[in-house]
């Protein structure tokens, strides 16, 4: 599985690619934003590890321009404590973030959580046209696509997973902890707002086609996808 790492810390890139290679991934490294964006657009990667502080084009700009064309999963490497970076990254459509300096096990867990879905599709192949329909929303589990009133939603991998999880459990409250563990492959840190950010992105994208509010917030607990009118 091919990963792209965009980080100007060459030392870290070397160590990380050695580590991930040992885990069975292929890693390509670029050290500035411009080249990174070019590579990300030209080739297909299973995942992009994107640093925020980059020469030429910063991480946010790379993500913004990438998202206009592609939904390749992106994990942002943010500086610890910079909450704004984290939230801004998620808003721009990053799938997850990992604060630097990170622990190698933590990084591997996140990478696995994101890439596992791709393996999942690969294993499914074109076996069945497994579809979920609730109200006006259709989830095509095989193709990993979601439709609102027959319009395809352009969701990132994480957003798709969150929506699919909510629709699968339509009418029931799904806790944020559950969403975090199932979708991001990690325990939800206390007062972590990343799930809220993803849900807010999904709502905005649904609202482009249909204004009725489908996902309800249960404050303090989680979210419900409302069944029926």
């Amino acid at each position: 599985m091919k990963l792209l790492m965009i980080d100007d810390d060459t030392g870290l890139c070397e160590l990380l690619s050695e580590y991930l290679t040992a885990q069975g991934y292929t890693v390509e490294c670029v050290h500035d934003g411009e080249q990174g964006l070019k590579k990300a657009l030209e080739h297909e990667y299973a995942l992009i590890l994107l640093d925020v502080m980059l020469p030429k084009l910063d991480g946010f700009e790379v993500l913004k321009q990438l998202r206009q064309k592609k939904l390749t999963p992106v994990i942002m490497l943010t500086a610890k404590g910079e909450d704004f970076d984290r939230i801004f990254g998620l808003e721009l459509g990053a799938d997850d973030y990992i604060p630097k300096p990170f622990n190698h096990r933590e990084l591997l867990a996140r990478v696995k959580a994101i890439t596992r879905r791709i393996e999942h599709i690969a294993s499914l192949g074109n076996t069945s046209s497994n579809k979920l329909t609730v109200n006006n929303i259709i989830i095509n589990l095989a193709a990993r696509e979601a439709y609102v009133d027959n319009n395809e939603l352009s969701l990132t991998g994480t957003e798709y997973e969150v929506l699919a999880l909510l629709v699968k459990n339509a009418g029931e409250v799904v806790s944020k902890e559950q969403i975090s563990e199932e979708v991001l492959g990690r325990r939800l840190a206390s007062f972590d707002r990343s799930i809220d950010m993803h849900v807010s992105n999904i709502r905005k994208k649904i609202a482009e086609y249909n204004s009725s509010e489908r996902i309800k917030t249960m404050r303090g607990t989680g979210y419900v996808f409302i069944r029926g009118e």
Partner: protein, 471 residues
């Protein structure tokens, strides 16, 4: 600054630029006040008992009057006219009002009827005097000049009704209460301006000094740039001193933040390399690698704490405010603390609750409480008490039954890396930044964190937070 300081030393420089010297100002103002007081006193002592003021009549006016008197006498003798006839003669009557005063009031005559408010009787007391200018409230009179007529002896006065009394005379003629009030007000105003002028810059300096000592490094004395006396110089020197301090402190804090930030990249690589080594190392070496990882994590935590404190201190941290139940935040923190306390064989007691929703940065509030609690658990002997109370503010009190803190160190406890005694070990896992983070996090929410020693023993941390219901 140095230029003006030099000029001060050259002896009598104050004679050249008196305005630049406080000495001169005090001197002049004092002098003015004294003069003002004396004037007021003279003024008060000069109050006439009647409503009339007189001055010796001199010059052409006197001659004129004497000439008029002579011609009246002449007319009476030569033309055998009565005094009334003479006075009513158009040539005389056309001129100013003439008044012939007789010893018998009923015999007194005027050339025409005076205005209603003209009281001629008040001139009686001047009859024995040489010719005078007599000022009254409503008119001026010139006289008396003796006129000997067949009907008897008269005293001639010329009355000028139109001419108002000169300003000074009018002042003199004012009633006593008005004079006293004016004198009082004048001296009051003078003294007020004097003291204000002197005290205002001192007050500005005082306020700036108080603010500065409370830690507001942006505080400056509001001193007029053009003021060149001692106070002006003092004010500007104070301000440049404050700027210097601010610069130094900011530079020091920025250095700390910059170093911490720069340390992160090598630390990330260190962690990564440790991970790689762990994959290949023998069991014997695993323990060392685990130790390296643990120390790297500790370093990581310290750097994160330093950065958090400097961000909070520099107020560059954007609070992400959300509506959150206070009790949810507290319960969350308490869960971890209970566990921690149990491991140390200490008990955690909670009194009261805080069932309300406020807008706050929940992770910051939680980290503040966490840090205070962790500190309390560390130093408590047996029990830690948490009191929650809701008044117009949110009040949280966390007490331990440990040894407490030396009173002199109470305020320093919230400084980064301050430790009470060198004997305290660093193995307990603290970074020395816990209370600094807590204090700054609470301050960022416009609240207040204070430390006290309890009567019995142990430290008491009081947190007061305003209730913020709107974003």
């Amino acid at each position: 600054m140095s230029l003006s300081a030099e000029s001060k030393n050259t002896g009598l420089a104050w004679l050249k630029h008196p305005k630049d010297f406080l000495f001169f100002k005090i001197f002049v103002w004092f002098w003015l006040t004294v003069i003002g007081t004396i004037t007021a006193l003279v003024f008060l002592s000069n109050i006439a008992t009647n409503q009339v003021s007189t001055e010796e009549l001199r010059g052409p006016m006197k001659k004129n009057l004497e000439y008029t008197a002579k011609s009246i006498e002449r007319s009476a003798i030569k033309h055998k006219k009565t005094a009334a006839e003479i006075l009513n003669h158009p040539r005389l009557a056309k001129r100013k009002l003439l008044y012939l005063n007789s010893d018998q009031a009923e015999n007194s005559l005027t050339s025409r009827l005076p205005a209603d408010d003209v009281d001629l009787n008040i001139l009686n007391f001047t009859k024995t005097m040489s010719p005078q200018v007599i000022f009254t409230e409503t008119y001026q009179a010139f006289g008396p000049v003796k006129v000997n007529l067949p009907e008897g002896t008269f005293y001639l006065y010329e009355i000028d009704e139109s001419h108002p009394a000169p300003f000074l005379i009018r002042l003199k003629l004012m009633p006593i209460w008005l004079k006293t009030t004016i004198a009082l007000l004048a001296s009051l105003t003078l003294s007020f301006i004097f003291s204000r002028n002197l005290i205002a810059p001192i007050n500005h300096l005082k306020q700036a000094a108080i603010k500065l000592s409370k830690g507001d490094l942006t505080a400056r004395a509001n001193i007029n740039e053009n003021r060149r006396d001692e106070l002006g110089i003092l004010g500007r020197d104070f301000n440049s001193m404050a700027s210097q301090i601010e610069q130094l402190v900011t530079a020091q804090k920025r250095l700390l933040a910059d170093i911490s930030h720069e340390l992160r990249s090598p630390l990330t690589r260190l962690k990564m390399a440790t991970g790689l080594a762990q994959m290949q190392a023998s069991d014997a070496n695993q323990t060392y690698l685990e130790r390296i990882e643990k120390e790297a994590n500790q370093l990581d935590k310290m750097i994160a704490d330093v950065l958090q404190v400097s961000r909070l201190e520099a107020k560059s941290q954007t609070l992400s405010l959300h509506k959150q139940s206070m009790q949810v935040i507290i319960n969350h923190v308490l869960n971890d603390a209970q566990f921690e306390a149990k491991q140390c064989n200490k008990t955690l007691q909670v009194e009261g609750e805080l069932n309300l929703d406020i807008y706050c940065d929940e992770s910051l509030i939680a980290s503040a409480l966490e840090n205070v609690l962790r500190n309390a658990i560390k130093y408590a002997e047996h029990t830690i008490t948490i009191k929650l109370a809701l008044t117009e503010t949110i009040n949280i009190e966390i007490n331990d039954d440990g040894p407490g803190v030396e009173p002199a160190n109470l305020t320093r406890l919230c400084e980064p890396f301050f430790r009470q005694s060198d004997a305290r070990d660093r193995t307990s896992g603290g970074t020395g930044l816990g209370l600094a983070i807590a204090k700054n996090a609470i301050t960022a929410h416009a609240g207040n964190l204070t430390l006290h020693n309890q009567k019995q023993s142990g430290l008491s941390v009081k947190i007061v937070l305003p209730i913020k219901k709107q974003q």
